[in-house]
Amino acid sequence: MIKAIFNRLLQAVLVALLVGLLTFVMARSLPGDLAYRIAAGRYGYDLVGSAAAAKVSAELDLGQSALAALGRWFMDLVRLDLGTSLVTGAPVIDEISHHLGHTIKLSAAAILLSLLIGPPLGIFAGLRPGGVLDRGLLLVSTALRALPQFVVGLILIIVFGLMLQLLPTAGHDRGGHLILPALTLALGLAAVSNRVARDAMLSVSRSPYYTFGRTKGLSGWQVFLRHGLRNVAVPIVTYLGIQFVYLVEGVVVVETLFAWPGIGHALVHAIFGRDVPVIQGTALVMGLMFVALNALVDALCHLTDPRRAA
């Protein structure tokens, strides 16, 4: 156990270093003059000009070499300081913590919703392979995966916001604001997790121990609870780890569409404004989140797998 924790910590440190280095190189190699881009991010395009760019350049010491800037970032990082945003002038850590809270809330709601939608439907489909539900789900899942999240989000806004007038369209000040962006992400996640659950259920239901459960006289529900659920849960939880990539990718699109002030939204703006410390900081936090979530998934697998528990 201690070794596993140590490995994860080492992994986290390596991710931090690598992400810091890669995002720095990528942000610096993007086309365009850094000072002008930052000035455009700060003042908007009506007011960006050579005077504003010169002021930005002098204030931020943009003349220094890339190596010196990177070195300074690493030195700061050792002191747990992520630096200051070049656009807003606020400490990066403050910006990230503000955005991160919103993203975690959105992602957690999306994962929970997807678990509520995907696996139960998949399990029912797996119990009757080739049935109406199974075939219908395959169709819907394929359509949902094929549609960009942006389109799914717009459809949800039109149906629930405009036609039914049940939910607010965009913003983040009321609880109801969370539902549509979370549902947009959840539908994409559920589109895959229901297939994973369906296949797992099918393979479990055809296994000898499951058949034995039936022959010893347990009802369908009892055999599912005693011999099916935990076995089906393992691939779903494992797959959850893989889905975090989809989630992070989706968060960038969904946050922009729903005016949700999360880390994906911040990252997009930081890239436009060449706000290198914010790009580095956000990527770093996202990288560390990946490590942490994967560790969590490992732990969950460990807990749910009946073979390990035995």
Binding site: R42, G44, A51, T88, L162, A170, R174, A259
Partner: protein, 506 residues
């Protein structure tokens, strides 16, 4: 475990869906595309001004003429060098401190040290004379000064708002005070109790930055926002059929222009610039992309009454004339129809940016229209900052941009920074005309209105002939307002969301 998860999610969703869907409260929710990037007036000062949190010494009326605001009146010395601004008595900042001349002078001196128009005015000193008079001394006569003081970056904040030259909080004098700020997206305001002017009817309002135009339109349609600023053409057409919102439109002092590098080998002859202009079917372009009649027949739209010259011969569409002008310059069609001269193809790069989503679309139409006369355009849709950056390093060929002529109510401020003898980041490039420079210079120190009119006509006519920039279209601002709000307006100078005049329908 699964059961617990299920229950947790269900209860979370039930709890959150209890909140009312619509903004059925007494708060006016405003949605617009602009992000709040910081407290400094140079960054998001326009948002604080639009939300009526802060005020300037001078305001603008519907036609852009300077009118008193925090300065109740002003005088200029005979030599035009000393301006005295008397402050409105009894004005208090939101922290309860009184508006005093020393604080105002300090604020303006700080603003002058930052990028902005005030830094370009020939100011020698700004100082207080007693408690209620601010004196600005100039190095040369400069009549646009009064308009410069109306710029959002010259907003007056309380002494407690500053730490050195940095703004740490927004403490203004407006009828609304800031109650919460969640940069970069949201802020909320509340009416102050003892506002020096007329008390507005609306008590509370919020501002939400919503980048996507489709989202803004859907917020208007669903009632999630009460005042939605800057609608895209497609949404405007759809919303005009909705009974839930009212659309307000106004012509604004902003034009879509092609910035031309007049020093480029292909473009230095005025005939080449005129040919490009003649190749543009402005009416067709405006109808197809902007969906309202907005073809720019000259640089300034009619909303800029002082600078728009109704008698000026309009920029016309004439591809045949364009072709013959280019032939006079020695251009001949190559095998693929693109013009050639001395072994070089007439191929140029047009730089533009998607901050205004219609610009890349307009660029694509221009690409087609110019191809008709044998000019090949490559479109580079990139960050807006590339326009000034490429202007400075000399690599710009053509740029398609939207220019706001009312950064201060009088466009002279923008004209001086864009079309001075050395050109400007968002204006002329490698172009100058002594007659034009003289007219612009005289405009900065004359006070006689009729002399001003003839100088402006002279300047506009020179630009119409020489085309240092090629006007393409004029802008119209559209706002969707909830039918529950009355008295909403749009300010053509983009200085206010009109909170002061709104009220809830009874």
């Amino acid at each position: 475990m699964f059961k617990t998860l299920l229950m947790a999610t269900t209860s979370a969703l039930l709890l959150s869906s209890v909140s009312p869907t619509l903004a059925a409260d007494d708060v006016v929710d405003i949605a617009a595309p602009f992000e709040i990037t910081g407290l400094d007036p140079a960054r998001s000062g326009d948002i604080f001004l639009r939300m009526s949190i802060v005020e300037t010494l001078v305001e603008a009326d519907g036609e852009g003429k300077p009118i008193p605001a925090l300065a109740r009146e002003w005088t200029m010395s005979e030599d035009g060098l000393i301006w005295r601004f008397s402050l409105e008595p009894g004005v208090k900042f939101h922290d309860g401190t009184a508006l005093e001349a020393a604080a105002v002078a300090n604020v303006l001196n700080i603003a002058r040290g930052k990028p902005g128009l005030l830094s370009k005015a020939p100011i020698e000193a700004i100082a207080a004379d007693g408690d209620d008079t601010v004196v600005i001394t100039l190095t040369r006569p400069f009549t646009p000064l009064v308009a410069f003081l109306a710029e959002s970056r010259a907003q007056i904040l309380a002494p407690a708002a500053y730490q050195g030259a940095d703004v740490k909080s927004i403490i203004g004098t407006g009828p609304y005070k800031l109650t919460s700020l969640e940069a970069p997206q949201k802020l909320a305001v509340e009416r102050v109790a003892d506002y020096w002017g007329e008390e507005p009817a609306i008590e509370k309002a919020t501002y939400l930055s919503v980048g996507r135009a489709e989202t803004r339109a859907l917020m208007a349609e669903s009632g999630d926002a009460d005042y939605v600023f800057n609608l895209d053409p497609a949404s405007r057409t759809r919303l005009s059929k909705s009974g839930k919102v009212e659309l307000l439109s106004v012509s604004i002092p902003r034009s879509v222009l092609i910035k031309v590098n007049a020093g480029h080998d292909f473009l230095k002859d005025v005939k080449a610039r005129q040919a490009l202009s003649l190749a543009i079917d402005r009416e067709g372009l405006a109808a197809a992309i902007l969906r309202y009649p907005a073809s720019a027949t000259q640089l300034f739209p009619p909303s800029l009454g002082l600078w728009h010259d109704a008698d000026l011969a309009p920029l016309a569409y004439g591809p045949e004339v364009a072709t013959s002008l280019l032939a006079e310059l020695g251009w001949k069609p190559g095998d693929d129809g693109i013009l050639e001269r001395d072994g070089k193809r007439f191929a140029l790069t047009l730089t533009t940016y998607p901050d205004r989503p219609e610009l890349p679309l307009i660029a694509a139409v221009l690409q087609d229209q110019l191809k008709e006369i044998g000019v090949e355009l490559a479109i580079n849709s990139t960050n807006s900052s590339e326009v000034p950056a490429k202007h400075q390093d000399g690599s710009l060929e053509l740029a398609l941009m939207a220019r706001n002529f009312a950064l201060v109510p009088d466009p002279i401020g923008t004209m001086l920074s864009d079309y001075g003898p050395k050109g400007g980041d968002w204006g002329a490039m490698n172009w100058s005309n002594p007659d034009f420079d003289e007219a612009l210079d005289e405009l900065t120190h004359i006070t006689d209105p009729s002399a001003g009119e003839s100088l402006r006509q002279r300047a506009v006519s020179i630009m119409q002939t020489e085309l240092p920039v090629i006007p393409v279209a004029w802008y119209q601002q559209t706002v969707a307002v909830s039918s529950e709000l009355e008295g909403a307006t749009i300010d053509p100078f983009e200085r206010s969301f009109g909170l002061k005049t709104m009220r809830w329908a009874q």
